[in-house]
Symmetry: C2
Subunit: 221 residues, 2 copies
Amino acid sequence: MKPKAVVLLSGGIDSSTTLYYALNKGYLCRVLVFNYSQRHVREINSAKKIASLAGVDYLVLKLNFPWRGSALLDKNAKIPLGKEDRKEIPSTYVPARNIIFLSYALSYAESISASEIFIGANAVDYSGYPDCRPQFIRAFQKMALVGTKAGVEGKGIKISAPLIKMKKSEIIKLGAKLGVPYEYTWSCYRGGKISCGRCDSCILRKKGFKEAGLEDPLWKK
Amino acid sequence: MKPKAVVLLSGGIDSSTTLYYALNKGYLCRVLVFNYSQRHVREINSAKKIASLAGVDYLVLKLNFPWRGSALLDKNAKIPLGKEDRKEIPSTYVPARNIIFLSYALSYAESISASEIFIGANAVDYSGYPDCRPQFIRAFQKMALVGTKAGVEGKGIKISAPLIKMKKSEIIKLGAKLGVPYEYTWSCYRGGKISCGRCDSCILRKKGFKEAGLEDPLWKK
């Protein structure tokens, strides 16, 4: 029997590649998608499409964030445009977002007896988020081992972030090999009908495809 | 200016005592209550009442747990009755519940620049939950430091579980001194109009008041 895994899918390049990576490794995957009233709610449709194309069951979970604190949640805030070399944590940071996402994944994984959670966190071409770093994943792993029945009575649930040290171009090359349908992924932080091409996320995507020597199929659709 | 704190309040004895403890320590408290479709949804009304009596602002957050995995969520499952000396984790365990609760508290605390989170977790008279133990709180604390902006750019948010090593009777004695209105707290796991007096939680409460040498005002109402 295949080992079970919960895969967090946002509909972007990293999480979609992570899903195909986990499938390729032989896991029976269950996809978890979050609707947290993000401005770029369009990515949820991308996530559903990607999961369907991969032939994987998905669950869309509505999360409430009644407090502000991020340009990704606040429709009146400006999305920062293309500052690649900043050192500060950007305004699109959502307080404890990945912590909440992974906590739900842990609950779901434990309830279906999955042995692993896959998350597309990436610390190289990332936008400065503290909850995308290897030390965060390691700390969450330790906490998950002592805080769950699965960890206390069994081997616990493994948190895997296979892309965490890869460059965007390397992720895209890997995904292209695995057959990820990138034309259906969504990266833009702004809520428009087409990608803006100017926000942090769009710029990272462009750069990634360029460095990978591949054409972004998003623009061919 | 008073330091700000987020207090998790379920409406039971431990969390209510924790709220009064934090207020007594001089914190400006913001209360977070979770509605996760628990069978004993009545405790939410108790939590609101306690927060109001304490003169503290509260926020009730609806959480979705679409998966099963606990007798506290599944209306068809039996609530276990009074086995005090068990070693197994009981069926009322909700996968990763405190992990999710603390993650939300972390997000809320960060968004309002609170310096501390108070949780009424207790590891002595507890029902065998892994996420109520000191080692869990410590591991969550470490994870919270590396996974948030508050931890990376500042001193981070402290996770305090002041009752974690206290016996139920000691908690009740402390709460009585602090003026906690125990007549409005709710402990019973079952969804009835009055406490069943027979579930784990009711039995712990009875024993606690008895050992504290106090009368439970719940039964005087």
